[in-house]
């Protein structure tokens, strides 16, 4: 099959070249890359290699002849049908003097001037190192107030935010020893938990607490006795005996106001936090009424529907933490009340009765009073009255 080798552009944009000297003659068999001819161009003398394996059929010129770029130079008889790729492109204007340029018909529609941007979103300013610290301490940098000179969040800001967070969540170091998956998280205090934090801080700042602990022997109670109702009854009785603990203390005016009604605040736990609904005038209620109050409060606390009024007016508090665990405690007195009773977990205990060993049911009691308003004696008498009433069978 006959192939014509056209003179390629031997420089860049050269129009022609002059034949200096042929290295082959018609009839020769050549291999690809064997030198065919040397050509002189405007720039240099160049050797032209053969693009094919085959037999030389015709030479299109002699020494000193000028051949135009793209014109026939040598005709070959090639064994195979293989044609070098550059062959036909020489005739087409490639639009480039060197190499090969990619061309497409793709049409782009973007605007020449680009787009107008909307207002820039406000980004938290912080040095990269500070951002890393915030991530490390699991603090959301966006929620920290910045105190830096350029409006940036500083290392101190991050550390402070982290401290507030960690004071109210489990300490990381302790938890690591237990091979469990625990979540570290920071909760912004809201609502009930926030109130609790504030109330407890305030109590700690003002109140002078003293806690007396003792046990009440409740072995005499018949089976099925409503424990909370009995405790409330005992509280009412004790308030009757020692009214000093059923009072409000006013530090500013240094006044103690004793109340005629016994309004017992019952500490109730919910997933949102601590609620203390108040059974008002407990001294005038019977057991059934007290129980129905408790049931109503329980469900209203659970679904957050308890009226504000039922959370006010407390004159003395009861915390029955013993339903879960714990014997004795020093429950917190939250002003303006001056006393709180904590009841622990009922247990069977070995006791000495008339010099003999017996096993009795024990209800642990922890009574905290505010010693600014209540004396040790008043507290002790109150506790004694409690125990006396609780010890009765009914």
């Amino acid at each position: 099959m006959s192939n014509i080798f056209y003179l390629p552009d031997l420089g860049e944009g050269l129009p022609d070249a002059e034949i200096c000297q042929w290295y082959v003659k018609e009839g020769d068999i050549v291999k690809t890359d064997d030198l065919l001819v040397s050509m002189e161009t405007a720039k240099a003398v160049v050797d032209v290699p053969s693009p094919y394996c085959g037999k030389i059929v015709k030479l299109y010129g002699q020494a000193s002849d000028i051949i135009k770029t793209g014109a026939p130079l040598v005709e070959f008889l090639v064994e195979s049908d293989a044609v070098t790729s550059g062959h036909s492109e020489i005739h087409k204007d490639k639009g480039t003097v060197v190499g090969s340029m990619e061309e497409t018909d793709t049409i782009i529609t973007e605007s020449a001037t680009g787009i107008e941007l909307t207002k820039v979103k406000q980004m938290v300013k912080a040095l990269p190192a500070v951002r890393v610290l915030a991530r490390h301490l699991s603090v959301d940098i966006g929620s920290i107030s910045a105190s830096g000179a350029h409006g940036e969040v500083t290392v101190e800001d991050v550390k402070q935010a982290a401290m507030i967070g960690s004071a109210l969540t489990l300490a990381k170091t302790k938890v690591n020893l237990v091979k469990q998956h625990l979540e570290t998280r920071v909760d912004q205090l809201r609502g009930v938990r926030r109130s609790m934090a504030n109330a407890m801080s305030q109590s700690h700042a003002e109140v002078v607490p003293v806690t007396l602990v003792d046990d009440a022997n409740i072995s005499a109670w018949p089976k099925g006795t409503d424990i909370t109702v009995r405790v409330i009854r005992a509280l009412v009785y004790a308030c009757h005996i020692e009214p000093a603990l059923n009072a409000h203390f006013d530090q500013a005016n240094l006044e103690i106001k004793r109340h005629s009604e016994v309004n017992i605040g019952i500490a109730m736990d919910s997933k949102d936090g601590l609620f203390v609904p108040v059974i008002k005038n407990a001294q005038s209620l019977d057991g059934k009424q007290v129980r129905s109050y408790i049931e109503r409060f329980k469900s209203q606390v659970a679904d957050r529907s308890i009226p504000q009024d039922d959370l006010k007016g407390c004159t003395i508090q009861l915390s029955n933490f013993g339903t879960f665990a714990g014997r004795y405690a020093n429950p917190i007195v939250v002003p303006p009340i001056v006393a709180i009773l904590g009841t622990g977990r009922i247990r069977d205990e070995v006791v000495a009765i008339e010099h003999k060993i017996a096993i009795h049911r024990i209800l642990p009691l922890s009574l905290t009073i505010d010693h600014r308003a209540v004396t040790g004696g008043e507290a002790a008498r109150f506790l004694a009255a409690l125990i006396e009433d609780l010890s009765k069978s009914h």
Binding site: G13, V97, E102, T106, I107, T113, G114, I115, T118, K121
Partner: protein, 326 residues
């Protein structure tokens, strides 16, 4: 109104300005009779004659020197260097004279010329034809460096460059000379110099590029959109003076910056952008600035050329790196 390539757009801009301003002269090797080795100046000599479209001898320092001389006499030469790699013999003229004329004459003279050259790799050319050394000129005070990335911007920015009273190095990305077409209105309207163009709005990462690499950058930005990463894409356009404000505003929004350019990494334009952003925008950065660039080697020949030019894969990797920083 027509769709045209960058080559056509530059041709149109030259034709427009030559028709409206008799002081504009086009000169260079093979620009007149041959119409330019890339056909960029095709038809101009026929239209405007041999006194306004000059075929020069093969001497780049002379092309630059003559242009500077013309510029002092009130002409507006637009000289072509056939490839950026051939500009170096003219470097002395450009850096020692063109850039200093205003300063030297205390403003009595300026140097209203444009030096155009195709630049960059990607057309399988031999040595010297694939240079991307815009940093040499950006580093020189008194020079403006402009690099278009689309036909419309090529048209508008060239007009602005010709009309500017100071010297402009106008580099044309030869790899995308004919790669895309765009509607360009031949109305003689210039685009603003010294300003970046925001091509795509986003809020997760800022991608800054110019020239031929804009093509890959836009493609990657489109692909990652599908994965939920919203990239803001900025075309620098005027390399010097750099519009750092636009870039800073973007980084303030996204906190993450990736710079893409074909030129070698060390002391490239990306280094200048990165340093400026670190200096003025450190408080907004969430992640280290990434540069996706050509390697610090001579541009390789055909076989490795594609690996040298920042690929979509390399750009994507840099984006993934910065996105790891939350």
């Amino acid at each position: 109104m027509a769709e045209m390539t960058i080559v056509d757009a530059i041709n149109q801009a030259l034709a427009y300005e030559m028709a409206h301003d008799q002081n504009v002269i086009v000169l260079g090797e093979d620009v007149g009779k041959n119409g330019g080795v890339f056909r960029v100046t095709a038809g101009l000599q026929e239209k405007f004659g041999t006194e306004r479209v000059l075929d020069t001898p093969l001497a780049e320092s002379m092309i630059a020197g003559i242009s500077i001389g013309m510029a002092t006499q009130g002409l507006k030469p637009v000289a072509e260097f056939q490839f950026m790699g051939f500009m170096y013999p003219a470097f002395d003229q450009i850096v020692n004279h063109a850039s200093r004329l205003r300063n030297r004459t205390r403003g009595r003279l300026t140097c209203p010329l444009v030096f155009r050259a195709p630049y960059g790799a990607g057309i399988h050319a031999p040595e010297h034809h694939s240079e991307s050394t815009e940093a040499y000129f950006a580093h020189t005070p008194g020079l403006r460096v402009v690099i278009p990335s689309s036909p419309a911007r090529a048209y508008g920015l060239l007009l602005a460059a010709i009309r500017n009273p100071d010297p402009v190095i106008y580099l044309e990305p030869e790899r995308i000379y004919r790669l895309v077409k765009q509607e360009v209105v031949d109305n003689g309207q210039a685009l603003p110099l010294d300003q970046c163009f925001v091509l795509k709005e986003g809020h997760d990462v800022t991608l800054v590029s110019y020239g031929a690499s804009m093509h890959e950058t836009l493609a990657v930005a489109k692909n990652i959109q599908a994965e939920g990463i919203s990239a803001e894409v900025i075309d620098v356009a005027t390399i010097k003076p750099l519009d750092i404000e636009t870039i800073l505003n973007s980084v303030e929004k996204t906190g993450r910056l990736v710079i893409i350019h074909e030129a070698p990494k060390t002391c490239g334009v990306g280094a200048e952008i990165a340093a400026s952003v670190a200096e003025k925008g450190l408080l907004f950065l969430k992640a280290p600035i990434q540069r996706v660039t050509g390697y610090d080697t001579i541009v390789p020949y055909f076989k490795l050329e594609k690996k040298y030019i920042p690929t979509e894969a390399r750009i994507l990797k840099a984006i993934q790196t910065v996105m790891e920083y939350v």
